[in-house]
Amino acid sequence: MSLKIIESSDRFMRFSVSEINPSIANALRRTIMDDIPKLAIDKVIFHHGQIRDNEGNVYDSSLPLFDEIVAHRLALVPLITDPKMNFREECSCKGEGCPLCTMSYSINRIGPGLVTSADLQPLGNPELVPSDLEIPIVKLGPKQAILVTAEARMGRGSEHAKWCVTSGVAYKYHREYVVKKSEIENWQNFKDKCPGSVISENDKEIRFTDDYGCTLLYQLLDNPNVERFEDPTTYIFQFETDGSYKAIDVLEYALKRLPQRLNTLLDSLVVQD
């Protein structure tokens, strides 16, 4: 088994893994998808009643959106996460909630105006802010204000989608195409639109040694005149993150996490005599 990173940025990654089979590839995919711990808001406390600003003006705590919608929107805001934080149930506080496992935030805004994720003020580690600061939460009308405290805790995507770090997680079998110039009229078109690194050409045919980054080739998939080779032992993975972690960190964690879980399985196996 070998892993090769093809493309990598803060929030996106594409890599290939070879000499594995679909179940292993899928296990890695599923780990990346929803087995990465992450911070997400899990409890929102709204202040109901009058809200006063510094000058003593009175605002109404009624929002244009229902409280449960606002809470839901807050929960989905991706937060930059400290991976060293504990799961609450594994924490030394025994599930009570402490700075080791819980991160608190507050929003205090008066209307009119748009409340965004930037208004989510961390109470504690100042680095753990939303990874995107322009996510709209709710639009306040005149004489409206929002005063909210929120608690975030660590969780995994398998529990709720708000703890999903990644999106667009997919892999595909490695695929090669051999296009005979005599059979496919617009071969030039395919050649032009695909990265040169995957093309090898001679007089009669073009060989595309891979099809990632070249969606045009998909049209050849059901063309009987194109020879196609699919390799179910080599996989090209891709995923992006919501910014709570860097993509590379996600991959590293996932690669560590997978054997961990397999070991847990192994440990819990009861061998018959």
């Binding site: 409280d67 839901h72 999903c164």
Partner: protein, 1198 residues
Amino acid sequence: MKELVDYFFKNESVVSHQIDSYNNFVATLGNPNSVMQQIVDETKVSDEDLPGTIVLDPSKVGGRDIKVYFGRTRDNGKFVGEQTIWVERPEIKEASGASNQIVPNEARLRDLNYMAPIFLKVRVVEDGQEKDSESIKIGEVPVMVRSKICTLYGNNLDQYIEKNNGPTNASRKEKLQYVGEDPDDSGGYFIIGGSERVIVSLEDLAPNKILVEYEEKYETRVEVAKVFSQKSGFRAMTALERGNDGVINVSVPSVAGSIPLVILMKALGMSKDIDVHNSIASLPQIEPIIYANIEESKSPKVFPPNGVNTTEDAITYLEKRFAAGQAKEFREKKISQMLDRSLLPHLGDGVEDRLKKAIYLGRMARSLLELHVGVRKEDDKDHLANKRIKLAGDLLDELFRNAFQSIMKDLKYQLERTYNRKKGIRLKPAVRQDLLTQKMLHAMATGNWIGGRTGVSQLLDRVSNVSTLSHLRRVISPLTRSQPHFEARDLHPTQWGRICPNETPEGQNCGLVKNAALIINVTEGIDPEEVMAFLRSLKVEEVKGENAETGRVYLNGDLVGYYDDPEALTREIREERRNGNLSSEVNVRYDPSTREVIINCDRGRLRRPLLVTRNGDTVITDRMLKELEEGEVGIEDLLKKGAVEYLDAEEEENVFIAVYAYNIPERCPKCSEFLSRNSVRWINPGQGAENPIILECGHCHANFEVERLLTDKHTHVEIDPSLILGVVASIIPYPEHNSSPRITMAAAMTKQSIGLSSTNFRIRSDTRGHVLHYLQVPLVRTRVMDFIKYEKRPGGQNFVVAILSYQGYNIQDALVFNRASVERGLGRSTFFRTYSAEERRYPGGQEDKFEIPSHDVLGARSEEYYKNLDESGIIFPESYVEGSDVLVGKTSPPRFLEEGAEKLGPQRRRESSVTMRPNEKGYVDNVILTVSESNSRVLKIRVRSERIPELGDKFASRHGQKGVIGALVPQDDMPFTEEGVIPDLLINPHAIPSRMTVGHLLEMIGGKIAAQQGRIIDGTIFGGEPEKSLREGLVKSGFRYSSTEVMYDGITGEKFKADIFTGVIYYQKLHHMVAGKFHARSRGPVQILTRQPTEGRSRQGGLRFGEMERDTLIAHGAAMVIKDRLLDQSDGTIIYVCGNPSCGHIAILDRRKGTLRCPVCGNTGNIYPVETSYAFKLMRDELSSMGVMMRLILGDLK
């Protein structure tokens, strides 16, 4: 002709037919010819009085001659007097006595009636001396929201806002929002007791029209000629029937049996046989039948002693038959009642109108005989030309006519009763306003109209915005649901462009409940005299006798004259109408087979607009269209120029309509983009047929020529064929690719979809309501959405859908949802329920009180239940409530005040708090405290609960593809594409082939490229983006032509062998959700009477173990299970039976002493417990109350 359609919707509301009809009805200052005023003018208080006048009985008013005039004065049949009735602005009379103008939302929130006062100007003439006229309030009339007397209408709103110190400088939209209204609400409904009610339009057979048809009677076929004669609210059917012996009999309404035609005609004053003959005869074949009929009437055998020869004979015959043995005076009255009132009332009710009726009967007989000899065909009852639509105004007309009549009758009675010699008559206190108001109100509130019709007014459907609009445009047929009426349910060709072909319910109301097409016009009716004057100017000969040779001219079903060249006359009338010299309300048809010219100008004809063509080109020009767009001219101007006209179903029989004026090439010859009907513009209409049609491409704006389909044979061209659909069916994209029943189903489901029903939902107090959280505009839309503002009030979300089976969880239309999508907010909605409470007042000065009930209140709960209430007993907003939590603490006075206080101890107040429904929960959203009309406090508490899609919730696309959630699958188990796209929804491939919803697939493709290319796809019927263009778009966006994709199984990780069809499609969440339906019971309440478990979820009822279920257990021989279900788990009771063989009554268990005793025979020893159902004991008791004594004789089991 997009410009024209745009204009229609920009300037007219979708429900303008309702509002126009009401505006025409309601009397306002400056509208002297309103329907209300006409009713007032025509109202006769008694048979003797002239219309519009009350003559007091001199014997009751001290011998004086007092006349009260309330109608307009007339001169030569024309009204010349001043308007006597008018309606002011809607207002409410508070308990304090002050009257305040109100806006609709105040009426909704305070459970008020949105009604306006009616004033009547009355003149009194005493002994020939005219007194000052008086304006009296005679009652109130319900106000249609957005009609011209509504507070929201135009200037009324500005005045209201100024009076109430509102924002006078705000825009109209802001002003509407200020008064709590949704700016885009259509109006067209009424508010009665705080709830919105619609008067649904009624489709009825056209009155005063002779219809001939065959009827099955005693297994023989007889010919019948019928006419529903209608005159100012009074309606009666007269029918002519040709029996097997050839004798024509007339059945007169409210008279038993039938009368021979010839005798009736003679009784009406047509004494000469030759006149009778001439008024019937038209063709040589029917002569013998006429002779036979005349001969028959002369036969002394049939009509002794001498047969019927003269008018006197005929009247004597009638008297003998219908008033035998009564005094002469009586007989005469009876016969004149019959001839003048019951028979053909539309021709008049005087002795002078009798001859007219005889001629009319002759005409009916002619039609009947023409049918008999086969010259005429049976009339088509389902033809829209033979139908009239009754809108809100017409139905209110009936109601008001009745109510006004009774109030004026009452006024006469009151004036005579309260007459005082010294003070004379006093009008104001004599008018019983309540009588009129209550009559109108009662009919509006219950839907029980006069004439025994029910369901005329209905509660407005506010599930979604389209369902509201559809409800306001509904047309129902009064035919009974139980009878088959197959023909009446069929789609009739004349419904094209008038009635939506698809939107109708399935089941017993199929085809009887219909909906209007997009652009319709219902005629208001004009004075036929106007048309008559016009006809006279065209030298139409007056009717003198029957003249079979020339063309006959009919106006509103009456024969009004002859014309030698009827076809030319028809042309002339049309020409003059198009020149604006004749009202556009007039429609005319020429029937070449009978040489008849049929002119109509009456009310209720359903019409549709068409473009007029002349010599192979439209009359409308690009210039006119431009002026229309810029607002320089209106539709009325186009009507006057003869460019556009409204045709009724009658006139449409005479025309030749081109559906399209031209064909379009597949691709633009310049930019080679795919073209659709909606993406080209005809830039040179009306430039003459010799010029080729030039189109402008919507993509590159280049011009090109196309072939002309219009020929000089065409008389009209459709404005746009997509206008044949109604508002709901127009929401569906690509319906022309679907099978028709699926469109019908889709239309029915769209009306159940939840979205944003109105923008003021947070300040409304509907008892139930839904809002979808993340509303989306459909990616594949139709042009009609602009007109009904669908994109401002959408009803669904765009789902990423893959068509594949999944682990059996989407078998049989189940849906597999991506759980992560749901967790991210897909398909979430909020459900509202409003609870209301009122501090009611009771007779005797007692009243309810909102408070936390103290311990000494009868039935008070423990403190725990009142913890969410504040000190006034009202719940805090945003508190969480569930189960049977108390929302308002309320106490009521003791029930029976007078009953002996000393016996039962001090009278205690009762607890009567309003609690949550037992199986609902949520947060208190809003608490509104206001006062009712009677000044008691009214509380409305709205509770909201979030509805996250769960197993069993119902969703549907816009193609009749519905399903319930069968599984919520974690996203890692879902199939995924190579790009990492995980569908929101998996539907089963078997849902497609047999249902042939190709539109569903096209919408999926359309949505896919819309999402990828960032543009909205047009899927309008007949004019949407063509399939080829969509497929090409797929390829351009990097997808495959087939829209399939390589997918991998999320569970095994393996690639699927087949490629999966995927796309993006608009799904609607329907309001049938599990949260509102699930139900189970172990123990629970029982009915008081029978002690059996209650029924229904709302009463925590049991689940019925019915007969068929019982049968299964019998088949199994499971006797103990049956006993358990039917007795132990139901109403099993132990009764004590007296074992005395001569007694057998039920014994009494004295619990204190612990003894058993038979109250009948006094037996105390020989008493046995018997287990039986309580229903049996109940039957025993009921029988004994009837005097039947059931004895239970006990014995041992053998």
